[in-house]
């Protein structure tokens, strides 16, 4: 019963984008739910934009995130948690304490890379009470032609956490799909490349 948290220490890293798209991908294979643990409520807002009855229910997090999440089993197979943009936030701590996998999207930009340094310690602390926690850095918004995108792997090698081999590229469809309350998997040919990279990423980092 994997619990997957999208965590980070910076707004705009791609936590919500990866949460809604990965959760949608998982919902196509197994019973999946998404918990919006960010007070900003972007995942809930995304869901509110569509009238479609989707196989992916989105819940607002309760104050007791841990018991809420555990209460989803055995009804669901996967729970995805979208966290606030700070490792110091209570919701992030609780999500790290209850999760099997922490996915940490990072943009190839200095400020984002510096902010991500602090996640190493947050993960180490969470492992005191949750030794099964796996954490993986994911490069998001990669633009292969820019210098920083080319150097981002070397910068992330300074952080003692594994880096997913599959990066997520910067693609307009991640934004346009969100506006329609959809995922890249629902965008037909326009979303095909994004869907393919996410399928590959999921295969790499989430046990199916």
């Amino acid at each position: 019963m994997p619990i997957i948290a999208l965590v980070g220490n910076k707004g705009g890293a791609g936590k919500t984008t990866l949460a809604i798209n990965c959760a949608t991908a998982l919902a196509r294979r197994a019973r999946t739910t998404l918990v919006d643990a960010d007070p900003q409520g972007s995942s809930l807002q995304w869901r509110a934009f569509t009238e479609e009855t989707s196989g992916l229910p989105v819940f607002q997090s309760a104050a007791e995130l841990e018991s809420q999440v555990l209460g989803f089993f055995p009804q669901y197979d996967y729970v995805v948690i979208d966290c606030p943009p700070s490792v110091h936030a209570l919701q992030t701590h609780e999500a790290l304490r209850v999760s099997d996998i922490a996915l940490i999207p990072v943009q190839p930009s200095p400020m984002d890379l510096w902010a991500t340094v602090h996640i190493e310690r947050a993960v180490a602390q969470a492992r005191d009470s949750n030794p099964r926690l796996k954490a993986v850095l994911i490069i998001n918004q990669l633009e292969p032609r820019t210098t920083l995108s080319r150097l981002v792997r070397e910068a992330l090698a300074e952080i003692d956490l594994p880096l997913a081999a599959t990066p997520v590229r910067r693609r307009a469809v991640y934004r346009s799909s969100a506006l329609e309350g959809k995922s890249v998997f629902d965008m037909g040919r326009r979303g095909a490349d994004a869907a393919a990279e996410l399928d590959q990423l999921i295969k790499e980092v989430i046990p199916l």
Binding site: P39, G41, A48, S86, H88, A89, R121, E158
Partner: protein, 95 residues
């Protein structure tokens, strides 16, 4: 090529400096925690009272409560939320 090498060096150096500063900070805060432990209480800010926006979204048709009916219960936390700008509502984002 030389420019790229310079950028690489700057970027890697900046990561190392950030790491060193973070570990210094950790040591400092652990020391000050040892000094203040026992006579101070960590104030926990309830995230549900932090954002009126999240409340209004929660009331929308998409928002639901947990099927398990998890009752929110206030509880003490080990998290040092007192120093966190996000928890104390000072943070403005997206940034």
């Amino acid at each position: 090529m030389i420019d790229k090498d310079k950028t690489r060096q700057k970027l890697v150096d900046s990561m190392r400096k950030t790491k060193a500063a973070a570990s210094d900070q950790t040591k400092d805060s652990e020391q000050s925690k040892e000094q203040t432990d026992g006579n101070s209480e960590t104030k926990v800010v309830n995230p549900k009272t932090q954002s009126s926006k999240s409340k209004s979204v929660a009331k929308s048709k998409a928002a639901r409560t947990s099927p398990g009916g998890a009752k929110p219960e206030p509880r003490a936390s080990k998290v040092p939320t007192g120093q966190d700008p996000y928890q104390s509502g000072r943070r403005v984002w997206p940034d």
